[in-house]
């Protein structure tokens, strides 16, 4: 099985605090892998290392066989990794559509002169792709609404759409269904499932809602205090004594 993303002996320290220690995991092409763990166990830090927002203290990350540790975040995205954030980071003052168009940014043929002279061929080409995403995520009614004015559930969809617009090979979702109502969770679970089916995107998922996580993911990895404590099928991981201890105590 060819690994799309491989993390080897990854450690991240901030001064005396060890956020991640000796983490190793591999994501195969086409699968959905869920990362679970209590608050502060290092899930988001792991995401931040993969997307080059943090520089790991030691260890290696490789994507499609290429090492990632020397790239800047925008180069990582160009290689085909997109992500969403736990506490939404939308461009609040842009319309929903423009948020998606920023996701298309790296696919633009960038011509300064054409921009200044208002030649908009590229723009309409990418607009078409964005409209496909708008349709997929049912964003039509809010297309021109300022992103900051949208309700929380819609904002989560916009962020998912923006990540999809970059056409990634690997999508990192940081708690995609947290803070949503039961109906919205159902919808979101459906979309995440569809993304894998329709677009063929591999998904790495951080999720607290274990029911959603185990339904979506084929495999699960559990972290606690920056250490990997279990890996395997969702059912096996959730029964693992260390995982139960991490969540519930002795």
């Amino acid at each position: 099985m060819e690994a799309l993303l491989e993390v080897r002996e990854l450690s991240l320290r901030f001064g005396g605090i060890t956020a991640l220690s000796q983490i190793g995991l591999a994501v195969a092409e086409g699968e959905t892998l869920a990362v679970i763990g209590p608050n502060g166990s290092g899930k988001t830090s792991l995401f931040n290392c993969i997307t080059s927002i943090y520089r790991p203290t030691s260890g290696a990350i490789s994507f499609r066989g290429e090492p990632l540790t020397r790239h800047s975040p925008d180069e990582v995205t160009r290689l085909g990794i997109a992500r969403t954030f736990q506490n939404l980071r939308l461009f609040h003052n842009m319309s929903v559509l423009d948020n998606l168009m920023v996701g298309r940014h790296l696919h633009f043929r960038k011509n300064l002169l054409a921009a200044v002279l208002r030649l908009r061929g590229e723009e309409t080409r990418h607009r078409r792709r964005c409209e496909e995403i708008v349709e997929f995520l049912n964003l039509e009614p809010v297309r021109k609404t300022r992103a900051g004015d949208c309700p929380y559930g819609v904002q989560k969809r916009v962020e998912l759409g923006r990540a999809l617009a970059t056409e990634p090979r690997l999508l990192l979702l940081d708690e995609p269904v947290s803070g949503l109502t039961q109906e919205e969770k159902e919808e979101f679970a459906y979309w995440i499932h569809e993304i894998r089916g329709r677009f063929g995107i591999t998904i790495l998922l951080v999720e607290h809602d274990l029911r959603v996580a185990s339904r979506l993911a084929g495999r699960m990895v559990a972290l606690d205090h920056g250490v990997k404590i279990a890996e395997g099928t969702p059912a096996a991981v959730q029964r693992h004594p260390d995982v139960i201890k991490a969540y519930l105590g002795e």
Partner: protein, 326 residues
């Protein structure tokens, strides 16, 4: 009812008929203005036109990209003196203007480098340092500044039998129109989106493939190009420049214009330029009170109308659009 039938149509400049009519009226008014207004008013309008270019440039940086700069006086000085020297060496007006803008843009990229590391107040201090440094260099380096007597710049040669004031007015208003259109186009293109993305959330911008290095430096380059041209046009209209003109107050005035006119708005930039040009004229007898007026206005604007004069205009327009149902 506003029906858009294609993506291309959605992107058109001044798409609504009403906007096109208003734009036509505005351009016509600008064309007629020097024939109906007194000479000193035409001169004032020329001053506003050149100031608007600088304020638009500053707004692209502060309002759209969110990088605060207090060093604009430095770019003004670089633009003005580059223009002065080029004119003295015999370069024609257009070429000297381009040279002044280009040199300021290069300086802008240079100043932009700290912005890759610094944010918010730290960046403003760094750019403030740049403005002061440029000022000191010009004051103390007589080869650049022309010494005590400054640089004298030959005035524009009027064409088509127009008077000097009218000719300058037309040239400047035409330049302003060009720079305004370019700014609209930049802002609505992928570049403008990258700028606003950096302002709203730099981490999200990066993660979506926007290179912070490239676009922050580009923002500085474009902004200082505009400011350099502003400096050059100012030098041309003064006919004589010395470094003392480009002190810190000049940076602050540009900043004030952006805040009062409206952050992240091109129309607002022009309104802001009108404000900072008219206030010193109105308070001509109380010159020392001008900074007080700026300060008080900024306070009032930030409290009551954070979007500035442009925000006021948006609300007025909304009122009439909804009238009489409100």
């Amino acid at each position: 009812m506003d029906l858009v039938e294609s993506y291309a149509e959605d992107l058109r400049f001044a798409r609504r008929p009403a906007a096109r009519v208003l734009l036509g009226l505005l351009l016509a008014a600008l064309a007629v203005f020097p024939w109906v207004a007194a000479e000193h008013l035409v001169f004032l309008a020329t001053l506003i036109a050149l100031y608007s270019i600088g304020v638009i440039g500053q707004n692209l940086l502060i309002g759209y990209t969110g990088q605060i700069s207090f060093g604009q006086a430095g770019f003004l000085a670089i633009g003005a003196f580059a223009f002065g020297h080029l004119r003295i060496w015999g370069a024609p007006f257009a070429l000297a203007l381009l040279g002044a803008g280009a040199l300021a843009a290069v300086a802008g990229v240079f100043v932009g480098f700290p912005s890759l590391r610094l944010k918010g107040p730290y960046l403003s201090i760094a750019t403030l340092g740049f403005g002061v440094a440029v000022y000191q260099v010009f004051v103390n380096w007589e080869v650049l500044s022309g010494g005590r007597s400054g640089l004298a710049i030959a005035s524009l040669q009027p064409m088509f039998g127009l008077s000097g004031t009218r000719w300058t007015y037309y040239v400047y208003v035409l330049l302003l129109t060009g720079f305004t259109l370019a700014a609209y186009n930049i802002v609505s293109s992928f570049i403008g989106r990258a700028f606003v993305a950096i302002r709203d959330s730099d981490i999200a911008a990066e993660v979506n493939g926007v290179s912070l290095t490239r676009y922050k430096l580009l923002a500085f380059a474009i902004s200082s190009f505009y400011t350099g041209v502003h400096g050059a046009l100012y030098a041309q209209i003064l006919g004589h420049i010395e470094p003392q003109i480009f002190n810190v107050l000049e940076s602050i005035t540009l900043f004030v214009a952006v805040i009062i006119g409206g952050v992240a708005s091109i129309e607002g930039s022009i309104l802001g330029a009108v404000f900072v040009t008219l206030v010193p004229k109105v308070f001509a007898n109380f010159r020392e009170m001008v900074p007080v007026v700026y300060g008080v206005t900024i306070l009032l604007v930030l409290i009551f109308e954070p979007l500035g004069l442009f925000g006021r205009w948006l609300k007025t327009r909304l009122y009439f659009q909804l009238w009489p149902f409100r």
